[in-house]
Amino acid sequence: MHIAVCVKQVPDSAQIRVHPVTNTIMRQGVPAIVNPFDLFALEEALRIKDRTGARVTVISMGPPQAEDALRKCISLGADEAILVTDKAFSGADTLATSYVLAAALRTLHEKLPLDLVFTGKQTIDGDTAQVGPGIAIRLGYQLLTYVSRIAKIDVQNRRIVVERRAEGGVQVLESRLPAVITMLEGSNTIRFADMPGMFTAARHETQHWNREAIGITDLTQVGLKGSPTVVAQVFAPKPKAVKALRIEGETPAAMAEAFVEKLFTDYPQLEEALLEHLDQLAAQEQQS
């Protein structure tokens, strides 16, 4: 069984914080890390490897220094790391990115047939969650997004059963390999690499694939030229100015009543939505 995990090196966006009061953007000294959501995807792949001896290849599209992110994955237990890097790929939006990653995954598939491709739910810099679906469509694999648990994998019969997050609940799906799975965060805890893993990672020679290596000749589909969407402007969000309205009431009961009254007069839709929500809950209770 062969599993590929797409990872991305991203700036630690939790550090590019806008101070809620001063509303200034803090960018200095922001290091690059492995996109945290991708580590949950890698952990799921490594658990399958622990159970079935599957081979896990991590693959990333990015500049040369993205190698550090791949090295981290090797330390956790990935067998091979491939950095897809080429000047022509820079500036890509999600459509151009899925084009390049799909090409790289096809090349990988020719070396050793792929059964599963994992990605994180989304990246913490782009937050789009579009590359996973893009790869699935381009490769013709089944798409299973927001997966919280893999219930069953039957490689011989090419069957897989997963639980995925849907609106208001969890869908249980049965599908077929090969498939692209985007993993929800928090679905498992990420392992702490052992010392042999750290040594392997420190000595690992990451393969670099450029456009020739993955058979890309049509440069209109990659990088900035291959990107229909382009960022026209970046700016700081307005701080949410809020002045708390103080609810008066001599006794707790009086204050509570005054509050509920004021809340639902200011926000009538909130009361409507709450009643609908409670009806739904009641209906679900009857079903179970």
Binding site: I124, Q142, Q233, V234, E271
Partner: protein, 375 residues
């Protein structure tokens, strides 16, 4: 330079290819599950109406699902929320949401009726579908938008959205492909007023068949487990949250939060110090090293409002806080301040909410019964 001034939008010069010139009209995907339309679809019809009027084109709802009386009623409802027409695709394979079937349905409609703008709600279903549709159509897609404008100079849509996890905002434009796709977060666009009659407007329904056999659809839905029966708290997806902090005093007092939560159908959250003191499990921690939540309503009881908590719940629509200390930091970013003892106010709130909701529900049933009598 840490202050990024809002510069004028600079757009690279790219001309729209010939084949996309005929693409006209604004479409909104109507998301529904178990016969219930997700409110974000109505919000998008409201915004779609505004964009369509500015472009001088029609606004259309896109409704796909299993055949039956329910889907026809939903189609009519899109008219009440502003749609000029509704593209309807009914097929048994579309009963439950499955990516392959829904992607095929949407791309068939788009290639046939060629809209210039296609909007979907940024729900788990909407984001799953939008990604695969955009790649199939090889068109641009902007995710999680919080603002949509039209630049009449070239009729292109400017979609603004948060990036770097909400730390920055950016405006994205799609110059070279159609339809211009965008997903929009729930509760960002205002809900339009429902007007069933919309006097003087005619409503068209355009049916279109999907030729896709069940055999060729690989993924099957086996089960659906609603959140209410989920074993773990689903704070990140909850619309109503009541949270407790150190101010609750003792772990037993958290029961007051759980009973109020029952009345409101809410999830119970906790601040880091409360979780650290072992009064609530880590799954319920809201804040920087816990969950980020965006509920409709967030009640914080005995929470001081440290900045590490604030960044995890500031995105809530309405925030009310109970605290004995009048100048607790939490009141700087709450809509309502209840200065008093949480242990007394929580039970009082439970009775007040229960009474009010019962009263409203009674009034609602009385008025619908009068309506039945009148027509």
């Amino acid at each position: 330079m840490s202050e990024l001034p809002a510069k004028p939008v600079k757009k690279p010069k790219r001309v729209l290819p010939e084949r996309f010139v005929p693409y006209k009209g604004v479409w909104v995907f109507i998301e529904h599950e178990h016969g219930h339309v997700h409110p974000v679809s109505w919000e998008l019809l409201g915004k779609g109406r505004e964009l369509a009027d500015k472009l001088g084109v029609e606004l259309a709802g896109v409704l796909i699902g299993a055949p039956g009386p329910k889907i026809a009623a939903l189609a009519k409802e899109t008219f009440a929320y502003g749609a000029d027409l509704c593209y309807l695709m009914q097929d048994a394979v579309l009963h439950d949401y499955r990516n392959q079937a829904y992607t095929a349905a949407i791309t068939t409609l788009v290639n046939t009726y060629q809209p210039e703008i296609l909007l979907l709600g940024a729900t788990t279903q909407g984001r799953d579908l939008a990604g695969s549709v955009a790649t199939t159509l090889l068109t641009g897609l902007t995710a999680d938008c919080t603002g949509l404008e039209i630049d009449l100079a070239d009729r292109s849509m400017l979609s603004s959205r948060p990036t770097f996890g909400g730390s920055l905002m950016c405006t994205i434009v799609n110059l070279a492909t159609r339809p211009q796709m965008a997903t929009v977060r729930p509760r960002v666009m205002p809900l339009p007023v429902k007007d069933p009659k919309r006097s003087g407007q005619t409503f068209r329904l355009v049916e279109h068949a999907l030729d896709l056999a069940e055999e060729s659809i690989v993924t099957k839905v086996i089960d659906f487990i609603p959140d209410s029966r989920a074993d773990k708290p689903q704070l990140a997806f909850a619309d109503y949250i009541v949270a407790g902090g150190r101010g609750m005093g003792k772990p037993e007092n958290f029961d007051l939060l759980f009973s109020l939560a029952k009345t409101l159908g809410a999830e119970v959250g906790a601040s880091r110090p409360a979780v650290h003191a072992g009064w609530a499990d880590a799954e319920r921690q809201v804040g920087q090293s816990g969950k980020t939540v965006r509920p409709k309503f967030y009640l914080a009881a005995g929470v001081s409002g440290a900045i590490q908590h604030r960044v995890g719940m500031e995105g809530a629509d309405v925030i009310a806080a109970i605290n004995v200390d009048a100048n607790a930091a939490i009141f700087d970013f709450s809509n309502y301040a209840l200065i008093g003892n949480a242990l007394e106010l929580l039970p009082a709130l439970q009775t007040a909410f229960a009474a009010r909701l019962a009263q409203t529900r009674a009034r609602a049933t009385r008025s619908t019964s009068q309506e039945d009598e009148s027509n």
